[in-house]
Symmetry: C2
Subunit: 127 residues, 2 copies
């Protein structure tokens, strides 16, 4: 089990976080992660209908901006929201964005069209 390099909590930049969240695909990834805690890269990629390299690009954006954390277990990589870190650095920001995403019709429409499956077969991790 390994952990990929992530920015320290203190070095998370607001503009980078906002830009990471400003993309529809990434915002939906974040919304899904807020529901089911952890998700594999390929899982999200397939559900969102983007190429795996495109998905990897978004994972990187989310990781480098400090929004998600990635841990590797074997061949799989699980992503997870850095809720505590984001809350510590920018209190209330993530929650308001998530609430806003649920209030935004466009985002909701996309989420409904795809459906939020894959809650199955995701091994829980810590808690």
């Amino acid at each position: 089990m390994r952990l990929l390099p992530h920015p320290a909590t203190e070095s998370i930049q607001l503009t980078e976080v906002l830009r990471a969240l400003a993309d529809p695909v990434r915002l939906e990834i974040v919304v899904r992660l807020s529901v089911q805690k952890e998700q594999t890269c390929s899982g999200v990629g397939e559900e969102l209908g983007v190429h795996k390299s495109t998905a990897s690009h978004h994972y990187r954006m989310l990781r480098e901006s400090g929004v998600v954390m990635t841990r590797q277990v074997g061949r799989l990589k699980f992503m997870r929201l850095r809720r505590d870190d984001l809350d510590a650095r920018f209190p209330g920001l993530l929650d308001s964005v998530l609430a806003a995403a649920r209030a935004d019709d466009a985002v909701l429409a996309t989420a409904r069209a795809e459906g939020v499956r894959a809650v199955e077969s995701v091994p829980a991790h810590g808690g």
Copy 2:
């Protein structure tokens, strides 16, 4: 006195708002507007050290995304945060972003370097 076209509250899109806020110059404009309520275009432009056409570009982004409202008085145009509209559509989002901007060292450093002047000679408007 005239009002420029702005998106209706219901049609404000989250991703567009986030993208508008994800630029350092625009984020600083928003922070300043949160302090002094109204500001002229040229005022902000000069303080931020960007060309007036660049400033105008940012104003447009902020206006079209629904973040600010612009009213014209003679030759001057005053910008103002659409606090109520944003709060109605995305409760807590603007406040948390503003709080985050104050907590973000990079943004703070820029704000400090420039200083927040120009609170003079800005005619108050309504309440």
